[in-house]
């Protein structure tokens, strides 16, 4: 079995002198080449988990291990890259200079130029390489954050909303590059509200709600399940057992049940079904279910 490159064991972290518990007993391990999606509502603790993994925060209890050691060692910083949401860069530097500044921390001499060129390409930033960091759009800042995180051949990337606010064409290219990095063995923890991107990239998803991981599963297994959507003439006051009320009617996780059996339940509850269709489950369903369950 491959050893994890990043591991959080029963990690807890609170703010405001313990009054605000951001993360509680979070355990997560990521192996090389794996992309784990970290999803959940605002304030669930996703950014705190990433900052703990990056060594920018120390856990109150529990252990964070990057490559088997503390994330604050020089070796870990060489190997773990962090792309924060809303990253701030030295405003007077151009994009190329920002990457050059970070490259200087990783390598000496002629290798620096190659590192900068690689990072510019990864972030699709060649066209704005001479633009000052202060003049970048939000999407460009996110791309620069990604480029600096990956700079120096990092083995673990911690990505916080990195694919948000980016136009679809560049987003697709970035997804492909991230997937390629993963194939080359780079592990990633991707926190995002962009569930479509998580579905597309992540092999495994962890759902974080109020600081706790409430569900972890392979993305494919989560999304393989079928959901029956039912449009009703009139919404019922209470849904039949196992059904959920939606804006247009009801939803039902089919599992091993047949569509006919589910529709028969509706008829038994005197519900007038106008239309129905079967679709595959989305990550949004998973997150909403986790929230409902809490």
């Amino acid at each position: 079995m491959t050893a994890p490159v990043l591991e959080l064991r029963d990690v807890a972290r609170a703010y405001a002198r313990g009054r605000v518990r951001a993360v509680e007993r979070v355990s997560l391990a990521i192996v090389p080449g794996e992309i784990v999606g970290l999803v959940g509502p605002n304030g669930a603790g996703k950014t705190t988990v990433l900052r703990l993994a990056a060594g920018l925060l120390a856990p109150d209890t529990g252990t964070v291990l990057a490559l088997g050691g503390s994330p604050r060692t020089a070796a870990a910083r060489r190997a773990v890259g962090y792309a924060p949401e809303g990253a701030v860069f030295p405003p007077a530097l151009t994009v190329r200079e920002v990457l050059g500044y970070y490259a200087r921390l990783h390598a000496a001499g002629s290798r620096r130029g190659a590192l900068v060129a690689e990072a510019l390409a990864l972030g699709e930033l060649e066209s704005v390489a001479e633009r000052r960091a202060a003049a970048l759009s939000r999407g460009q800042v996110q791309r620069l954050a990604l480029a600096q995180a990956a700079l120096g051949g990092r083995r673990v990337l911690l990505l916080d909303e990195t694919l948000s606010g980016i136009d679809p064409v560049v987003r697709r290219a970035l997804c492909e590059r991230l997937a390629r990095l993963a194939r080359d063995g780079v592990a990633m923890l991707l926190a995002s509200h962009d569930l479509a991107a998580v579905e597309r990239l992540a092999g495994r998803v962890a759902v974080l709600v109020r600081g706790r991981i409430v569900r972890t599963a392979a993305t494919a297994a989560l999304l393989r399940e079928r959901v029956l959507e039912i449009v009703l003439d009139r919404l019922p006051a209470e849904p039949p057992p196992g059904f959920r009320i939606t804006a247009a009617g009801l939803e039902y996780d089919l599992g091993a049940d047949s569509v006919e059996a589910a529709l028969a339940v509706c008829r038994a509850h005197r519900l007038a079904v106008r239309a129905s269709r079967v679709r595959l489950r989305t990550l949004e369903d998973v997150v909403l279910e986790a929230l409902d369950a809490r």
């Binding site: 920018l56 604050r72 990253a87 030295p90 405003p91 007077a92 200087r104 921390l105």
Partner: protein, 230 residues
């Protein structure tokens, strides 16, 4: 070796500030004013001017190169790369010192050109300015990373106006009020223009004081930066 390279990396940030913000203009104005204003007169006068220029130039360089909100907001991300708070602080202080030293040397060269002489007097003044720049950079960095550029601004005013007065000169002017005594302590503790003559004369105490501020201010700045990794 790693820290040395990481410290050098910080020069890039300060250099960009020099050429792309008003820092360069302010340093030029400072140097021009120091050369153009009435001459330094005696030997201690030249040292005093060079000391003041060193302190002010270092403070400006730190304010622009390390103290702005945007620069400070960018610091934690740098710490996710293989560098350390100490390397970042050393790099910023050294960069500010280099700029301030360049201004001091330009001012001393201006004196030499204006008075048609260059001797031991001006060499000593240049050394005094360099010592003051080191102390000023360390002090300003600690102030910037403790309370931001507001405190650095206050420090600039202090260096420009108040620090010329030696502690022994306070009592004859303002009497023996406890506030005057406190002011005397402040003048002794902080770097100041009044030490210029002592720097120029090679006074070991004055030089050790400057060294202590350069090293101590850098260490305090590094500690403040490190505490952001809470």
């Amino acid at each position: 070796m790693l820290d040395y390279r990481c410290a050098l990396a910080e020069w890039q940030v300060v250099r960009a500030r020099l050429v792309r913000t008003r820092l360069g203009i302010w340093l030029l104005v400072l140097a021009a004013a120091a050369v153009a204003l009435p001459g330094p007169g005696d030997a201690s006068g030249a040292a005093r001017v060079a000391t003041r220029v060193g302190l002010l130039a270092a403070t400006l360089a730190v304010a622009f190169g390390a103290g702005s909100d945007a620069d400070q907001a960018a610091l934690p991300l740098a710490l996710t790369h293989p560098t350390t708070p100490a390397a970042v602080a050393i790099g910023r202080v050294l960069s500010a010192m280099v700029l301030a030293d360049a201004v001091v040397l330009a001012v001393v060269a201006g004196f030499a050109w204006r008075h048609g002489e260059f001797g031991v007097r001006l060499a000593a003044a240049a050394l005094a300015g360099i010592a003051a720049a080191a102390a000023g950079a360390g002090c300003a960095l600690a102030a910037a990373w403790t309370a931001g550029n507001a405190l650095v601004g206050a420090l600039f005013v202090y260096f420009a106006l108040l620090s010329a007065l030696p502690p022994s000169g306070l009592a004859p002017l303002f009497g023996s009020h406890p506030l005057v005594a406190a002011g005397g302590v402040l003048l002794r503790v902080l770097p100041g223009t009044w030490r210029g003559a002592a720097f120029a004369a090679g006074d070991a105490g004055a030089w050790l004081h400057a060294l202590a501020w350069a090293a101590g201010g850098t260490a305090l700045g590094a500690r403040r930066l490190g505490r952001r990794l809470a």
